[in-house]
């Protein structure tokens, strides 16, 4: 049974990878731009998946972290900094901010982090919009340069697309290593049964905090890539709407599944482009899909696929447990 699942998954993976590699030759520049956006958003979603899927915490601030990363990168690169240090700074700044934000909020129960991140996102958006001296306010920052790698500039749509793809691959690899490490085991424990995990010495608070901070850092890196992608940064994309969108992305794809964010980003980024004609109804349908999924299959589309490939779930005689609350 597990072997069949692995074969199916492996085939899907190989096909997707092949598609992604040859995509630039199949699409016009706009299509390649959309695919690049997909890759960048997936990185942000992977970060959020760490927070939500592995540590079980709702964060509504991912857009703020993407924004902070984007603005840091835009500000520095337009002043002449090379891309890499700007990107690194963006990631670290967001990691530290996430840590500082989560430290008080996660000491408490319930979903206080959700509210704190909601407030934080709103606050950060206001700063972006009002502090013209820093961020250019509603006028934004234009002419954000594309990065160059050892003298080879990535101005072209193709070149930058592969750059984004490479970044996504790196982030995926790093996340994979994280999930496979003892940290990953602790994450599963704290997601499944925080009370039991605590009694075994797992410091649930600290692991949750790290998951949140890492998720924020990845949001920052996503922003650092977003800036040179669109080459014009203004506050509008980083409002609460994006945070909600990223959250839904992770949930629809399958929170806690490694490839959930990839799938979710396809639904959230690529699908609307193909369904352009249904503009207004798209978001309604998306929201409806989330509600229905939550009722029947909270583990998202990948969870659904899992259920279909695995016959009748083996009865797990586990006791009623404290669901992460």
């Amino acid at each position: 049974m597990r072997r069949r699942k692995t074969v199916v998954a492996g085939m899907a993976l190989a096909l997707s990878a092949a598609f992604l590699l040859v995509a630039p030759f199949l699409f016009k520049p706009y299509g390649i731009f959309i695919l690049s956006t997909w890759a960048v958003m997936t990185i942000a979603a992977i970060g959020l998946n760490l927070t939500l899927g592995y540590a079980g915490q709702v964060s509504l601030a991912q857009a703020a972290f993407v924004g902070i990363g984007a603005y840091i990168t835009a500000l520095l690169t337009t002043k002449g900094w090379p891309f890499w240090p700007a990107c690194a700074l963006a990631g670290v700044a967001c990691f530290v901010t996430g840590w500082a934000l989560g430290y008080p909020a996660l000491r408490l129960q319930h979903h206080y982090l959700a509210f704190v991140t909601l407030a934080f996102n709103t606050l950060v958006y206001l700063v972006f919009r009002n502090e013209e001296w820093l961020t250019g306010g509603i006028y934004g920052i234009s002419n954000v340069p594309r990065p160059s790698l050892a003298g080879w500039s990535m101005n072209g749509a193709h070149a930058f697309y592969y750059f984004c793809l490479a970044a996504l691959a790196l982030v995926s690899l790093a996340t994979w290593c994280l999930i496979r490490s003892p940290w990953g085991r602790a994450f599963v424990a704290l997601r499944e049964n925080p009370m039991r995990a605590l009694s075994l010495g797992v410091d649930t608070r600290r692991y949750t905090l790290m998951a949140f901070a890492l998720g924020a850092g990845l949001g920052g890196i996503s922003g650092a890539l977003y800036a040179p992608l669109v080459q014009f940064i203004d506050p509008t994309p980083f409002a609460l709407g994006l945070s909600l969108n990223l959250l839904l992305m992770v949930v629809v794809g399958g929170s806690g599944y490694f490839f959930g964010p990839f799938l979710g980003a396809i639904v959230a980024v690529l699908l609307p482009e193909w369904l352009r004609f249904a503009q207004g109804y798209y978001l309604m349908g998306y929201a409806m899909l989330v509600i229905v999924l939550m009722v029947f299959c909270p583990t998202g589309l990948l969870g659904l696929a899992d259920r279909l490939v695995t016959p009748a779930a083996k009865a797990v005689p586990a006791a009623a447990r404290e669901v992460a609350a």
Binding site: L118, A287, E322
Partner: protein
Amino acid sequence: MLADILQLFVAGLATGGIYALAAIGFTLLWQTSQTINFAQGEFVMLPAFFVLIGMGFFGLPFWAAVLVGVAVSILTLGLMFKKLMVDPMLHHGVLPLVIATIGLAILMKETVREFYGADAWPFPPLAAATNVTVFGAAFAVQSLVVLGISIAAVAALQLFLNKTRTGRCMQATAQNPTVARLLGVPVERMILYTFLINAALVALASLLITPIYLAKFTNGELLGLYAFIAAIIGGFNQVRGAIVGGLLLGVLDNFTAVYISTQYRLVVPLLFLIVIILFRPQGLLGRVEERTV
């Protein structure tokens, strides 16, 4: 000078009363059924549109439309919300429900935008837009009426919860459903009542606030945020806390807008929230929670 401050204070209390109504419902839902309703803001946004549809589409006079609107709200935001969304999901735990209500908020917003429109429509106020002068300070009659109605609603609710048998059963359910069940309280029905009461509260809040904010599909964002903050500041496990939180927030909001900056109006409540969470996480009036994890 004093007159201005007094005016602002009363106006702040008025909007605060509305926030309190939304916050109370929110707190009640959490207490009795562990439901965190992220769509609470949209719940306050929607009833006004029911009334507008009643007047515009069905040609009803205002007060008839109000009655119909409130009834429809209680039916959809109370009964249907519970039966169709909350009940099927409760056994999955808290997290899927939180996410589902986030989806619901988006759904409600987009449905209004798509089927009614993206503009801001005027909404008939419950009192004339005149002023009354007391001790040399001019107070908007509307503010006083709003404040009066909010106080009356909250007082009625408190009376109901404390003095009637059903109300006390609801309180028992909120404090400890298991023990309540053992004592013979019809817990499921009590929880249903909570949802219905919440629907009534948000409908009332909608009637009170829409004349001020105008009927717009984005109203829920800000109102929801204020409801959450009021509930947490006041103390998530106390109805009284939601009242205090709401009033405090309304006053703070008003004073910030005038004396600090309209652009950063949200900053003060947000900072207040963070300060409370840091230094008094159980809220101003809340009890310290039993640690379970």
